[in-house]
């Protein structure tokens, strides 16, 4: 029998106030895998990640992670299980300097990266310590948002569209960094609209549509299924 997945999401539903946004999401992620969530705008990708970390409060279903149901864990305790969240809006704090942003999340698990190691991964951040976090360019803010969860010892990273609105050179750098993290054994959920980028790093892809998982495609079968995918994505 195969090893249980690291994260097993079953019939996840979520609401913003009265509006029912996720209608039963099912997927799983095994240890060391990079899994993407793809789907058109408004499909519910961001909401899925927010539900996992408790930013969305009204949820139903189960998200079993290392044996615990994340939906029953207090929102401030999710990070302590080794989950690092990189939100779509990046969430760099403007009242904190670059270094303060980087040092911000407490290190909940051993094995987090040292600041120098993070600067090694993202050299653009080096020498910017006292700059206000939001003065960085969009790409640099993305690097900072990723870097700061690496310090915490998180071994499961939720990345929401890290390439959105970012210059191609920087996308390459972020891609290279993610491959390094993958080689180190990090497990990653990547929300991505950029299929070429997703294909360069992922093992499997889940397609979301209208709050449901409608398909699962292994990375090696991506090319063969391009027509189907384009139909889902409406391109």
């Amino acid at each position: 029998m195969a090893e249980a997945p690291l994260l097993d999401v079953k019939r996840l539903e979520a609401w913003y106030g009265e509006s029912h946004v996720l209608h039963g999401i099912d997927f799983d992620v095994r240890k060391g895998e990079v899994v993407t969530l793809i789907g058109r705008n408004g499909a519910g990708k961001t909401t899925t990640l927010r539900s996992l970390v408790g930013v969305v409060g009204k949820r139903r279903g189960a998200c079993i992670y290392k044996g615990a149901d994340l939906l029953k864990v207090a929102p401030h305790k999710v990070a302590r299980l080794g989950i690092g969240y990189v939100p779509e809006e990046r969430g760099i704090f403007s009242s904190l300097s670059v270094l303060e942003n980087l040092l911000f999340p407490p290190a909940w698990q051993a094995g987090g990266m040292a600041v120098d190691e993070i600067y090694g991964l993202f050299p653009n951040l080096k020498g910017r310590d006292s700059t206000s976090g939001t003065r960085l360019s969009g790409g640099e803010q993305q690097m900072l948002a990723i870097g700061r969860v690496l310090r915490t010892g998180a071994d499961f990273i939720l990345l929401d569209e890290p390439t959105e609105g970012i210059a191609p050179v920087i996308i390459e750098e972020i891609g290279a960094a993610l491959r390094i993290l993958k080689d180190r054994g990090m497990t990653i959920i990547l929300v991505e609209q950029n299929l070429r980028f997703a294909a360069s790093i992922a093992d499997r892809h889940y397609v979301l549509d209208q709050g449901k998982v409608v398909d699962e495609i292994p990375n090696h079968a991506l090319d063969a299924n391009m027509d189907r995918l384009n139909r889902y994505l409406g391109v």
Partner: protein
């Protein structure tokens, strides 16, 4: 030359000193108000009542338990802060998600109830609180006589304000507070217990008001109305400095205390409205306040 515009220098300096003392109390109170507003998004109308509670706590600790001034100065803020924590946990907490108007009404109601309760139990008259023996007397500065207790009030409040400011701007805990002001749910997603932090913040700020009340006890008498008479000016200070700016609240408070003192010297009739005139001017020119981040 001993006169400035017909006012003897000694009188002028005396008024400046009084202004600075008032400014110190404004600073302790507006600092807390600004932090509470920034973090909890609550306009804490009960702040004056907590200041009054601090005064009464000091007076009660002395008159019924016989505790000395220094113990009182530590215990009174703790008692007031603990009460603040209870208020936050029981009531305020439930109101964050809905319109700010509700928390404003709640804290306004709490202020009225506390003041009414104390008026009923202790009467409206002021209760005297003696200056502690170690701080009686004064220093002759040559150009004026500086009473020890007044000097102590200025030093103590400035030290507490400065320490609070440093803690917020320079420490890790302060970084959590600043970040939680911007994006509480993300801070929570990083593993920080934001609800607990909000309770402690409210308790701390309200405790500062209690500290100010205990500090004020030997200077002014302790009375149920002491909070409502100072809180109006303190709100004006926060509006002038800009809601949410902590350094701004401290600087504005001291400056306005001094402006009040100067007005009292040169044009006494206007002294009680000077602060509000400044407030009107600031609202006309820079509605978000002098030190607010957004222009």
């Amino acid at each position: 030359m001993t006169d400035i515009f017909g006012v003897p220098i000694a009188v002028l300096l005396g008024q400046l000193l009084l202004g600075l003392i008032n400014g110190s109390f404004y600073a302790l109170l507006s600092l807390g108000l600004a932090i509470i507003f920034g973090m909890l998004n609550v306009i804490n109308f009960a702040h004056g009542a907590f200041y009054m509670l601090g005064g009464f706590a000091a007076w009660l600790l002395l008159s019924s338990l016989g505790l000395g001034y220094w113990e009182t100065l530590v215990i009174a803020p703790l008692v007031v802060g603990a009460l603040g924590a209870v208020v936050e946990r029981l009531f305020l907490k439930r109101l964050y998600r809905i319109d700010h108007l509700y928390s404003l009404l709640l804290t306004f109601g709490i202020a009225l109830m506390l003041e009414g309760l104390f008026r009923h139990v202790f009467g409206a008259a002021g209760k005297p609180y003696p200056i502690p023996p170690s701080l009686t007397g004064g220093i002759n500065l040559g150009f004026m006589f500086l009473p020890m207790y007044r000097a102590w009030v200025i030093v103590a409040s400035l030290a507490v304000c400065l320490a609070t400011w440093l803690a917020i701007e320079r420490t890790r805990l302060g970084a959590y507070l600043r970040a939680a002001t911007e994006n509480p749910s993300l801070v929570q997603a990083f593993g920080i217990n934001v609800p607990l932090m909000l309770t402690l913040t409210y308790a701390f700020c309200v405790g500062l008001a209690g500290f100010a009340g205990a500090l004020a006890a030997p200077l002014y008498q302790v009375s149920p109305g002491m909070g409502s008479s100072i809180i109006i000016v303190v709100f004006a200070v926060v509006v002038i400095g800009g809601m949410g700016s902590i350094g701004g609240a401290i600087v504005t408070a001291l400056a306005l205390g001094v402006i009040e003192g100067l007005t009292k010297t040169f044009y006494p009739a206007a002294s009680s409205i000077a602060v509000f005139v400044v407030m009107v001017l600031v609202i006309l020119i820079r509605p978000s306040g002098l030190f607010s981040r957004e222009a």
